[in-house]
């Protein structure tokens, strides 16, 4: 038995020489310090991405991307297909959790300055994957072809139409024509199941490869502590903790999906008035709310509406370029200005999101959310802002 096993492993080893990789992984270590817990958020995001891949492929077996059949096919999945309600609910919940953990991952990497050289490209690919994840969310939202999604897509694509110069082209490109129709649905489906996954898998592969090759970044404020404490072996110590988190996440996800199945709503009808509470997914809420505050009118031939859109675009670009803009952190290990701007941006996003949901949740809950975020953000600043302990 053992002789056979040895022969088999030798046979595969000759054809698939992985020994260098396993050798590398067996020596890989993970630094241990007071922020080590932050290393798990990227893996958590990856876990929900994998759930998306599996449940998404399963849903494709029954989903039909046309204006006539999309809603009915999702209804069929929810009511008739065995465990269809579970698979769809898992897909919807996991999507939201993936976006949430992607944002948390972004914040932890940002505030611990993990984008410092030589990890600039890890940061850039991560940012692009985050934008792709948001594009997944936006395109996937329309696929059930219900009222909420239909109007949210109308609004979302209309916003793209306000971009100066290329807006008109962009709107037609997104909608596949002048209006949101079955043509838009086919197009969003193509993006959602083919184009975005292909691009994401490549970029995510590069991102993960760089993380593995470069190892975990130690925050400047924890360098002394990391030197003092013994690092953890990546395998099995870190991998086991990661796996534990994944099992826990799966349990929580399954429980949420089973207890709160994702609702379907009413079939989209372009010829009835939009009802109250038409809203995008929560992660677009801060932009949506900002646009609501802008009055109509134009200045120098540019609509007022275009100004926040351009600012958000600029903010996205700045986010991608952070490692190249923050030169101070390379020299001194500190960049309080970036920390402060980051906290301000985070507060703005959380505050506007909470404000956007004021009609659904009581105002004191909104205020409480903002207050808690302020306190947490101040806490982060105190420990992550480079002050000595």
């Amino acid at each position: 038995m053992n002789a056979l096993k040895n022969r088999l492993s030798r046979w595969f080893g000759e054809r698939l020489p992985l020994s260098a990789t396993t050798e590398f992984l067996s020596h890989k270590t993970v630094p241990v310090h007071r922020y080590t817990i932050l290393y798990y958020f990227g893996g958590m995001t990856l876990f929900f991405f994998l759930v998306q891949v599996v449940t998404g492929i399963l849903l494709m077996l029954y989903y039909r991307p046309s204006a006539q059949e999309a809603f009915e096919s999702v209804q069929f999945i929810m009511t008739t297909v065995h465990f269809g309600w579970l698979i769809r609910s898992l897909h919807s919940w996991s999507a939201n959790l993936m976006v949430y953990f992607a944002f948390v991952h972004l914040a932890t990497v940002f505030f611990t300055k993990a984008y410092r050289p030589p990890r600039e490209m890890t940061w850039v690919t991560g940012c692009i994957v985050l934008f792709l994840v948001l594009a997944f969310g936006f395109s996937g939202y329309l696929l059930p072809w219900n009222q909420l999604a239909f109007f949210a897509t109308k609004v979302g694509t209309d916003i793209a139409g306000a971009v100066p110069f290329i807006g008109e082209w962009l709107l037609r490109f997104l909608r596949g024509g002048e209006r949101v129709t079955g043509g838009t649905l086919s197009r969003f489906y193509g993006w959602h199941v083919a184009i975005l996954p292909a691009v994401t898998v490549v970029l995510l592969g590069v991102h993960l490869l760089m993380v593995q090759l470069q190892g975990m970044s130690v925050p400047p404020t924890a360098e002394k502590e990391a030197r003092r404490r013994r690092p953890m072996k990546f395998f099995p110590n870190f991998a086991l903790r990661d796996l534990f988190g994944w099992v826990l996440a799966l349990g929580v996800l399954a429980a949420i999906a089973a207890i709160f199945p994702w609702e379907l709503g009413e079939k989209a009808d372009p010829f009835i008035p939009a009802f109250k509470d038409i809203r995008p997914e929560w992660y677009f809420m801060f932009m949506f709310e900002t646009l609501k505050l802008v009055p109509g009118g134009e200045i120098l031939g540019v609509e007022y509406e275009a100004i926040p859109i351009l600012l958000f675009g600029l903010a996205g670009l700045v986010l991608v370029l952070v490692p190249f803009l923050d030169r101070g952190v390379v020299r001194t290990g500190r960049s309080p200005a970036f920390t402060v701007v980051g906290i301000a941006a985070l507060l703005y996003m959380v505050g506007m999101t909470a404000w956007g949901y004021r009609s659904l949740v009581p105002i004191y809950a909104v205020l409480a959310t903002v207050v808690v975020t302020v306190i947490l953000a101040l806490g982060t600043r105190r420990s992550g802002g480079g002050k000595k302990r």
Binding site: V54, L58, T80, V81, H82, F83, G84, L86, I87
Partner: protein, 155 residues
């Protein structure tokens, strides 16, 4: 010696405990997935009778046959001779293709793998394993001065 026995027991206990836990976890993932991919039974409305067309239907006169929708099933309706209408399920018993009536040859033919049936649906040549299922044809009056209607029903 005693200590060793105890520690081995613990290890075996943990191995079993973790092994069965992981097995149960895998089972609780794979079972819903396996059920999901097996398509649910969707009851089809049973069709027992269909009004096909009039006896002087132009397509029927010209080509000698028409494929009629019988519920979700295609049925081959042939006009073999003046007043002689016959119908069979149009699905070849070989590999599910749709057969046609060749007026000139006086036979039912399947294009896919050259299967031949005679006009009573029996296999004459080629790979089909069974004869075609017959469908009952009835001619019903459509009113005075009008051509009769062809009504198909399950035999």
């Amino acid at each position: 010696m005693d200590n060793e026995a105890t520690s081995m027991g613990r290890r075996r206990f943990l191995n079993w405990f973790l092994g069965t836990s992981v097995g149960a976890l895998m089972g609780s993932i794979l079972f819903p997935v396996a059920r999901f991919v097996s398509p649910p039974e969707v009851p089809e409305a049973a069709t027992n009778q269909v009004e096909a067309c009039a006896t002087n239907d132009p397509e029927l006169l010209e080509k000698g046959f028409r494929i009629i929708r019988f519920g979700l099933e295609p049925v081959l309706l042939m006009r073999v001779a003046e007043g002689d209408f016959r119908a069979y399920t149009a699905t070849c018993t070989h590999l599910d293709c749709i057969v046609e009536y060749q007026k000139g040859e006086g036979r039912i033919w399947c294009n896919c793998h050259n299967g031949h049936y005679d006009l009573s649906g029996q296999v004459v040549a080629g790979p089909p394993p069974r004869p075609l299922d017959p469908i009952e044809v009835n001619l019903v009056s459509a009113g005075p001065g009008l051509p009769q209607k062809i009504v198909l029903s399950r035999a």
